[in-house]
Symmetry: C2
Subunit: 394 residues, 2 copies
Amino acid sequence: MTAPVHRPREGTPDTQHGMRRRNLSRVLHAVAAEGPLSRAAVAQHIGLTRAAVSTLVDELIRAGLLEELGPQRPGGVGRPGSALAVSGRGPAGLGAEVGVDHLAVCAVDLSGTVRARAERRVSNRGRAPGPVLRELAALVRDVSTRAEAEGLRPAGLAVAVPGLVARDTHTVVRAPNLDWHDTDVAALLPVDMPLTVDNEANFGALAELWLAAEAPADFLHVSAEIGIGAALVVDGQLLRGTRGFAGELGHVPVRPEGPACPCGGRGCLEQYAGEEAVLRAAGVEPGPDRVSLLAERAAAGDAATRRALRGAGAALGIALTGAVNLLDPRAVVLGGALARLAPWLLPALERELTRRTATPADGVVVSGLASHGPLLGAAHSVVRGVLDDPLGAV
Amino acid sequence: MTAPVHRPREGTPDTQHGMRRRNLSRVLHAVAAEGPLSRAAVAQHIGLTRAAVSTLVDELIRAGLLEELGPQRPGGVGRPGSALAVSGRGPAGLGAEVGVDHLAVCAVDLSGTVRARAERRVSNRGRAPGPVLRELAALVRDVSTRAEAEGLRPAGLAVAVPGLVARDTHTVVRAPNLDWHDTDVAALLPVDMPLTVDNEANFGALAELWLAAEAPADFLHVSAEIGIGAALVVDGQLLRGTRGFAGELGHVPVRPEGPACPCGGRGCLEQYAGEEAVLRAAGVEPGPDRVSLLAERAAAGDAATRRALRGAGAALGIALTGAVNLLDPRAVVLGGALARLAPWLLPALERELTRRTATPADGVVVSGLASHGPLLGAAHSVVRGVLDDPLGAV
């Protein structure tokens, strides 16, 4: 697992203070990823002396981020040392998700364990942002209270939305399937803690990077709820784009003279592989839990549904050929609803990629996180913020 | 201008030694970019104390990288201080370019000035790599000798090639317009200095980043000689892709059922906007200096040539719509041959981008470096290597 650490900005000088902060982060990351670990094992892991590590460890214990489990003999070899673990009563990251059909919130501790969770099925399409976000805030308070009852301190909240979020802001510029435009989530969400807001595909990709067993450091993560989004991870970092709008795979032209798209273009990928297009091609009425319905019909051998998913897979393959040619990712990961429909999408998708010779090194893989990715990615992004800058959190 | 500095790899600890190396780099970058500067101005520029900067400056002077110009009063304000400049007799970067129709080499000093240059018109298409690279080596020796006669020390050679180069190797995996396959340039190029090899579009983009007056830190650089290449700069860094193959814009599908492409795909951008496709559409015979011929005919109002360039511009616009949707760059920069043909390509290109609603924030701009980009980018990459790690070079 990669362990990105807090780095000074370009142009800021290196100082003793900055160096100490970065080394505290390295210690905390090492214990979170590999713990429990003895002080000696931490020292070996990050390449600092035992003495330097002990000073850093003491500081992290005082800050309530690490705890000592008492004398142990890790692995049964060498001198007994007190094993260190991240605190189960320290900071927690809260993640929230605004879906078209649901709201969800969870709390994750420093070890990555989900400690509390709440979800509500509710149709948010066309609902005004205010009531949706007030309902979300109630779930946040519920989860927050339960986390505090277990001794955790919520360190911040990250909210995943199915739309474009302007970079470094809390503003949803456009979420077509919610019908939100220029919605300032910070102004409408009555919670009192540090807040970040990002696109659900971005958080889904980060979850894949941080939580999947063998995630590559470079991949293109494609996900779908109603629309089709993508996120690019390069060298273990999300590529956000200048305005925060990178990853709009759904509006890559597949057939330039194809059907008009609400975005203003023609023949965009969503016109062939978006949920509405697939439902229409399969002759399925829009309704609740549409993805399950498509999966059931395809599994039962329904010819129209299978044909619709083959067409969607081929269109995905054409759009991904362009993306793979441009980005040369190690893998393409299918997440969200696409993961559940993968058995019927993949053959046509991979056939297009192969005949167009743009197959990524590790091929196309299906996410094990599927639709849980965005919520987990959001909560973990807060946890990673603590690991990256331990002193900023206390 | 951004000043990227040498950074420790993920997971390596910060040390006093590493910190000193990075601060030496900051001082040298500041003087190279903004000099001549007094020690006090350097200190202010990079945010370290005057005393710390003086120690670093003394070390860079001893290493022959900086020189004192004698007592001056920079800007006429404050105490007189001895102005510092990068050495005009220090390390030099050598850049070389293997084109389809030419070979070129140049030497650039730490201040960015081209101090020697050699070029030869020669048709390299279908020629074996050995003779081409021996001829290139003779030009390298010529330029190197002239640079040494001016007191410069060549610090390394970077070679730009019109093909895919496997990341962190010297191997040209595929250069269709030279007909090179799996060519190890290091084994065939008889020169005795540190060598890097990269795609010409990558070096062209780096030249744009480092040398253009107001280059954004995020852009998509599109260039063409015979084929169409692109390079992506994100946060001031080149996005290379897992295998080093990122930027294959020429093989993004424009019309998925279009003409077969030698790459194995169908309807790739090169089938509409590659040089051969444009020459054919314009009714122009392939021959030497084809781009000038196209530009002349278009300027003279030749209808077939103008129609061919409009078609190429529209195809570029469709492929770039996908790229802009995926990457959200601040700008698209047209370089290489495309820069010279921009007056006739741009209207159709921008019309497609606009109607497909994927226009980048700063629009489409034409490179001022045009076909000089790759050679300059190669030479400057060696110079940047010295600025990024001054002690590695002495």
